[in-house]
Symmetry: C2
Subunit: 389 residues, 2 copies
């Protein structure tokens, strides 16, 4: 094997914050990035070599992208998998992860079935096409999380249901084919960022995630659980990767039950919000790993450098307005904090506008370093000092 630089130009479908951070990570490697996104001057545009403005199902835009790059990937599940496959074929390009993996993951029912069939532990679930199916699910499972099969993210398309009388309303809320999953009374939410490379799979240490209103607020490393649970989480993540094809980074969201069991919640076939801590906290970031993996290059070390907390900067506004983040000296003036601003022109309620990373001390033995509770409190103080003005 002989990797050469300058590397290939990478075409990325999607130019949001994930595309932006991919481009940031590609630059030191000598890899250029061209993104495809429908929003002119999308977040990735100023950092990437160029943006092609086009919809995620626009064949001409895909062809223009394909004609100018050496390899294709995507940073959103909304990418049209069949179109990606066709255009990649036409231009004799590789796409990673594989479009069929994207297709499997796009449909939450198909995703869960594939995992279940492979023996990966998942919460009990069933297909729900109508209110009668939903009532049957409630009868079987008690409380359920009703999930739209496609198109949901950050909690959109997810409705908790306990009362059979709410079945019709809940079906209307998800607005289409759905699945119902046992409502897991978890002890903790974890996630593992896993990378499928050309030769091997690597996992970052499991992080602990805190959600509110089903939107990720913070990720804490190391997770505040036992070593045995962390090992189990990483083993399950490896099992998940066995069911998928193509190279790249996958974000694998997990539940830790009260008894320390691990269940797979959801998979993202791309770098994941709960892996943003890796930029400062791991030896190689999830974004650099994705670039390396997609190009078939050797993967980097996933070692945790030090205790780390990532806190999302969400739109704390009542109504949409031009995005200006104030009191930023709260982050910039903190010796342990880093700012990541995504460059979105408009702030909307709970929109992901950026994130901050707090690193603790103690590289040799992360567990012996800063206390994760203190680091989390510190991260929240810094994040909550930020204002939209």
């Amino acid at each position: 094997m002989n990797v050469t630089v300058p590397g290939p130009t990478l075409g990325v479908v999607g130019g949001g914050q994930l595309g932006r951070m991919l481009a940031e990570a590609a630059a030191p490697l000598g890899v250029e990035v061209i993104v495809l996104d429908p929003t002119p001057d999308c977040p990735a545009a100023p950092v990437a070599r160029e943006q092609i403005v086009g919809d995620f199902d626009d064949p001409e835009a895909f062809r223009e992208l394909a004609s100018r790059v050496d390899a294709l990937t995507f940073e959103i599940e909304l990418a049209d998998a069949a179109l990606l496959d066709r255009v990649a074929d036409e231009f004799d390009l590789s796409v990673h992860p594989a479009p069929e993996t994207l297709e499997t993951i796009e449909d939450k029912l198909v995703q869960k079935r594939a995992l279940d069939d492979a023996g990966v532990p998942v919460p009990p679930f069933r297909q729900v096409d109508d209110a009668a199916d939903l009532r049957a699910a409630l009868d079987e499972f008690g409380a359920v999380m009703l999930k739209a099969r496609t198109g949901g993210y950050d909690g959109r398309g997810n409705v908790p249901v306990t009362d059979p009388d709410d079945a019709e309303e809940a079906m209307d809320a998800v607005g289409g084919p759905a699945m119902a999953e046992t409502f897991v009374d978890f002890a903790r939410e974890l996630s593992v960022i896993a990378v499928q490379g050309a030769d091997d799979v690597r996992t970052f240490p499991a992080g602990e995630n805190i959600h509110e209103e089903e939107i990720l607020r913070e990720t804490i490393l190391p997770a505040r659980t036992t070593d045995a649970v962390i090992e189990r989480a990483e083993a399950v993540a490896r099992n998940v990767l066995d069911t998928l094809s193509g190279r790249g980074v996958f974000g694998i969201e997990l539940f830790e039950t009260e008894t320390g069991e691990i269940l797979v919640n959801e998979i993202a076939p791309r770098p994941h919000n709960s892996g943003h801590w890796t930029i400062e906290g791991a030896r190689t970031s999830q974004f650099e790993q994705h670039v390396r993996a997609v190009l078939g290059w050797p993967l980097g070390s996933t070692r945790l450098r030090c205790p780390t907390v990532m806190a999302n900067v969400l739109g704390t506004v009542e109504e949409s307005q031009p995005a200006r983040l104030g009191n930023v000296e709260a982050v910039l003036g903190d010796a342990d904090a880093s700012l990541h601003w995504y460059g979105k022109e408009e702030v909307r309620p709970l929109r992901k506008m950026g994130h901050i990373t707090l690193t603790g001390r103690g590289e040799l033995d992360a567990a012996a370093g800063s206390d994760p509770d203190e680091l989390l409190a510190h991260a929240r103080d810094v994040r909550d000092a930020l204002t939209f003005e």
Copy 2:
């Protein structure tokens, strides 16, 4: 004080590797970068928002840059200080560091005089306008380093002279007004990357530099000297900053004499090759510090995260050729190594094409972590495995 993001757009005169790494560091902060460089598709171009193609003394190009940015800085000493000053005035923009500082530093004799006048320790030196002056210098100092007053870098324009009979030839070699400096028989070369912010000065820990043929090969952190010498180096760096005006990062090259004395060799009014280790090795990189400083934002922590070695990837070729770096898996496959490729299209003998960074373990107490000698040997092994093909 209330810093807001998105930040200003920063105009950078010069688009080489320093401009590229500045743009990489600006992106997470929400700061966009436009560079001015005469070489179309310069190293910074793919990462920056845009490149304006123009010479470093082209008033129209400077005006175009100024018309599109909110603040100005530069990454090369070749920038025309008077022109920068005039254009900044015309567009009511700040330039940092101050053009008069650039002017002082551009002329090595003026630089040394300013330092000497301020009581900063420098090797004895004198003005050399012709061969007679040079012979007088040799008479006074013994061996000298003859330096062109302007335009020299990476050893170009520097000629060691010991024999008065070589005076004419040496003057021809530097080709213009010069200065002669005592040839310092140093124990070690060190450098301190120092940052002048709006409110305070910060210094990164002193690094140890290894030069060959006057070109930097490696920088080692922590420097393999005594704590007392490191403290003295940082104190001298602070004294140097007192003599300069304007905000920004300065690279201050130092000699440690056999008796542990510190003498200032040269100053660069910009991020410096010997500060590249800060990207992985310090809590905030020199490039992020420069962006923060130029914008008047609070400075970040200069804390050393772990023992770190930076090794330059120089053009190991006999003749210029298209730049393709082979066997890159030597870097990518190493758990402690990072690659930085500058995207230069042509490799030339000893041209700076990229660098690699090796990080050791031991964040809590860097000195107790990996052994710097071993880390240096490791870095050299990795770097020397790279080939141009």
